[in-house]
Amino acid sequence: MSTQTLTENVDDLFDLVRKSEGIISTFEARSLETEPETVEEEYRRYANTHVSLGDTSEFEQEIYEKVTEQGSPAKGYLYGPYGYGKTSTAVSIWNTLSEQEIIAVPPFTMDSFAAIMRATYGWMRHEFDNKAPDYVDDLDDIHERYLQQELRAVAKQKQDQHDLDFDKLVQMFEEMEQENNLDLSINADTLIDFFDECTELAQDAGFDALVVVGDEFQEYLNSADNQKDAESRFRQLVFGLHSGAQIRDEFGLFISMPEKTKSTFDSRAEDILNRLQRDNLVLNLQTVYGREFPAELWSRYADRFGFTDEQHDVISEHALTATGEVCSRNDLSNGPRTVIDIFRLALKQYLDTQETFTALDLAEAFYEGDVRYQGSSTKIQSAIGDALDHSAADTPEKQTFLKLCAVFPVEGIPDSVVEEYELEDARESLSKKIHGEVIKVIADGYTLIDVTKRDGPEDVVQQLIRDFWREYSVGHGSAEHAVDALANKLLNEGIFEAKRGTLDGWTNGGGSLNEIQHTVYKDQFDGTFDTRFPKRRLNVAVSDDTSQDEIVGEHGSLGEYFGDPDLAFNFVLTWESGDGHEHNSHIKKESDREFTFVLDGRQSFDELPQGLDFLRDAMDPNAVTPFLMLALVQYLEDPNTELDAQQENRVESFQQSLLDQALKALFDETLISNAPVSLRRAGKRAVEGLFTSVMEDLYPDYHTVITSTQYKDMMQDYADFLASLDTISKRRGSETVNEPKEDVAERFGLRKTSPFDGRIRKHYSDLLTVENEEAEEYEVRAELHPLETEIIDRLESGSEDELALAEVEGIAYEKGYRNEEVDVISQFMQARGIVGMNETGDALVIQEADVSVGDVESALSDARELVDTIEELDPDRVPNDVPEQLDDLETDLDQTNPDASEKLEAIHVEAKYVIDRLEEVGELLHSHHQSECDDLKTKAERKRRSLIPDHLENEVTGGVQFVGGLNDARSELIAEFRAVKSDLTDLIEDLEDARREHNSPTVAAAHDLHQEVEDARNILDSIETDTNDLEEYAEELKRWRTFTDKAANVKQDIKDYSRTFDEALDEEDDIEDFIAQIAERLVENPLDALMNRDAFEERLEHIEESYQQRREQRREVFDAKRETLKTVLDEATEGGTVGLRSATFDVKQPDESRRHLLEDFKSEYESQVLDNAEEKLENAHNEIEYAQIVGVEADTDADPDRVAEEIEQAKAKLRSLRTSLSRFDFQDIDEETELAEEGNELVTEANDLADKARKFRAQSDPEDEPVQDLLHRVENNRGADFKELLMEYHDDGDNIEVDELLERMEQLFKLNQIDIKIMQRRGRR
């Protein structure tokens, strides 16, 4: 019990109502994956805080029971108009289910199959995260697998279309999918499989079931690129769920849709809704909300918020009644949404003013536009406005009365309300003035006419009907209209309407029926009412009773041959009165194939038919007959008034109502009770019923193979199935086919077994019997079609051997078969191998099973032979069981009666199987030997390619006479190599021929190939042996090239020596003889001589050695000269040189070698002795000259002049030596020379003089103290500015004069103690 005050309670309720307005938005599927917590919080809060708009608890309980207990997946839907709380109810269902052990996917915008998959995955993941985390990975795996499957399918499609990289496409689509930018066209089977795996996982995780609650189903159709495809996919989903074959029982799917979407499905896809509602889980929200709903809801709110006793202090009972009336009307309100809105207004008023919200407040709220949800128009507001505008509304009471009338649109204003407001006088007054114009009485009292519901069409349509009535009369003019409408509207577009994609339905090729004359129509239709009798041809003729002679019996040949109409239906509309026959509706049998429907157009109605009551306002209701209705339909077909699209729609809708009622009246119980056959149903079904009855009567033995529009494919699959069977007995059905179901399905071209059962049921009910349904032990029997049986029976039992095709067609046609069916059945018979064509191709004959004992023996013998051959090739490859199997078959054959053709055929087939298996082995063997052949060929080709050594192509050259003999030997070798190459080419060609010749993958070919390869291998081995010798010769020849060069070089060296040193050598003769001898041997026997190279090489070495000795002697002489010169240099420099290293002896250029040696010596002597001494003397000379100029006070006793003289003397010696050196020649080397000794003296003197001269530059210490002091002041290389130095003295108190300081400096300069620099003072310029 609430302890709050009424105001506080009302405030709480107001807050709830005001904020949500009873609106809960459906989240997108994506939000279930990315924001599941928010989704749960929002939905849960809504479910827990709102009193359910309508009481749906029973429905929710029913869903729970079906999902958990029913033996198939549960499915259902709810629907309602806008404002009726579809999402609220869906949330409530979800809330109830999720409180059980069920994973309930909450409402989401169900705009695609991808969205369903995403929402299911997203929500399950959320649930698992919270309740079963161990299963999250498994769920992710499932989702990833399905997602990848779809992504890869899309990527494959795009890759093929645009030639793009597959992996990149997959990656791109993954990203797009994450961002919700990819439309995955998931098919129904995939989605069902996904549901199934998810359900299984949910059960594994401990949940009882998985239920998906999809909302906003209209978005699925709206967002589809192709509505038909979307519809078709949804159909497959619903049918798949309904069959339950692919999905476990513990799954449920509930969807919510607007009423409009439901209506669309009603008209376009009734089959889908039929399946969806098989579990009786359908909720029409409109039925949940009656007129009592506002009062009930208010009461529940009051109870919940604790103001039950004071509930009518807030809203009066009359206001609730009025709200109920208004909100029960779609055209005035949005149902429950408007109720909530009115509650909001009432609560606000109470909170603001503490005043009760009354019926008058309600009227005022509508009038002022305060009610937010007033349906599709503001009818109440306008009606009140118009009423108040009337001059009669001239007092406040009358105005109040009119306002109140507006909010009681269903029952009228109750007396109690009139009394409450004291409006009796106003009512009375207005009743007199505006009754029928503005107000009218319904049920309890007055209401405004403008808010009353109108059943029929309005305005323009009403006017057209009035126009028609003015022109209408029962006569020929109207009869023309009526018969036209009967022929073209009721029959052509109605009863015989065309249907696409199905066998049932009829077509006359499109367009109107042929009008033969006024009121007479004839046409031919193809189609059927009953798919057991498809593709029938029907003559339809229509007339009125005055022209019926034009059609009855006027149909020419019926059912005599292919192409003739099977039937003729006449429809005669009676309108002329006069025969007094009260019930003249009947069906007359004109012949077995012609029937006349006599339709009574004159009958009137006790009560106007449903939906046509408003005709009273425009015409005499007693004059309304089917004849009038049909005439009116035709009149409205081409109205005089121009209509807009909306009006045209209304006219069409009205025409349809008229046709529906005319059909009902014309094809009524009277008609079917006066028929030549028993018809159970009236209306269109009467025509259908007659058709079926006549067909059954005419064609009792007919069993169609036209089982669908795509029947040819189905029947071709069956023929393929027959052709795939190995024995006639199986094809004929005397033996069953026993193998796993998926293998049988595969024989029909099916990769899965799931659609197979449906196929058998629908297409092969006459052709296939399932003997065992267990998938692994599946057993079917191919049945003969009844027409096949008939034909075979005739052939087998008849006296004639053959059945002419014309006769076959005659039999078929008589039994009701279409020409195309005869083709199909003929195909079956031939596929079974029972019946074939005769030689002239114009008759069927029985095909004898032509397997003889000889055939079987031959097959077994073939098999034995194959075994032997394989054994020969590779014993391990003979299948283990084959020899035994052949033994068994031979035994079987011995025990079989030669006339038992089927048994013989069975043994023959078995033998063939064995042969097939052996040939499979043969295929492998053949492949093996092909590889062997290829390998050998490659080996031979490689041998051929590298056979002739490249060097043989090059001529042997050299300055020796035996090169001619060598080239002869080379030519001989090349010729022999070429012969071998030719042999190899032949061998390769032989192998190629063998491969071509034995290219069939058989045991025999493998055997032959094996033989050829072995022969070729032997030949190749022999060639290889031969070529080994040739290669040795070639290799030797290669060595001869080196030897030739060597011999030529030795010969040339000897000759050069002899010429250079002008010395006749024995070796010169030796080598000439030697070369001549080789040449001779090569001429005698080139190849033998080649192989004697080692001996020749030895002799050449002897000759060369001898010559080498001479050469060595020459070198030794040269080396001795070099040593002498080296000694001279050593002596002159006292070992201070390393020169003459580079001077070597070249026996071919002895003079050049000598010149080089002499140049090296002179160069070294000049640099180490002469130039060295000269440099030192020059330096000494400079020092002495300086000392003489300056008068250096050096610490030496030496006299500079004397030293200068000694220097000059040394220089003279230097010049003398330079002259001697320039004159020194090679012949002087071993002679006495002064270069050694005098050179040595010169160097010694130069060194001494240099030492002496250097002393003149040595520092001497000053003796005078003041000079010492000055030196001290500039010690350590300290530079001093003269001016600063002078001032330094003065600062120290020594007022030395400039001259004095200069003098001291001079002394230091001469003692070599200081250097003096002078420069121009800065700033002088």
Binding site: E21, I23, S25, E28, T38
Partner: protein
Amino acid sequence: MNTLKQAAGADLLTDAQEEALASVKDHRGDDARFINLHGPQHAGKTFLCWVLQQDSDWTYYQALPTNADTPTTIYDHGNPERKATRKLRNHASINGLATVVYVTERPAEELYPRVELDPADDHYSEIASNWTDLGLDPETAPSPIQQ
């Protein structure tokens, strides 16, 4: 436009805009979760939003963003259809929005309370005068949409 945005202030509001602004503030005071500001093109809704944004703690968006991180938001140029306003409700839930001013040209379906900005002609002359004061070309100032 930037000049106008920078200059946006209560002193430049027309009477009609002032009235609408006061109404929006009242509704917020009443704790309304959604406020639908609607009015014809050129009525000055966006300008009003700028003033509202400067005047208090609102965040202004040109359109409905993917995410929002302030509890009080203005979404300009909204789609008035029910599908869009339902989406807006979820958007508000997911982003934890307390109050949303949703600006549309015609009343947004299912979105209440509504504040209409449908000014009289003097509103446009007042705007033109404001534009002149700001140095903007009054010729290009908003004018009523001709029906």
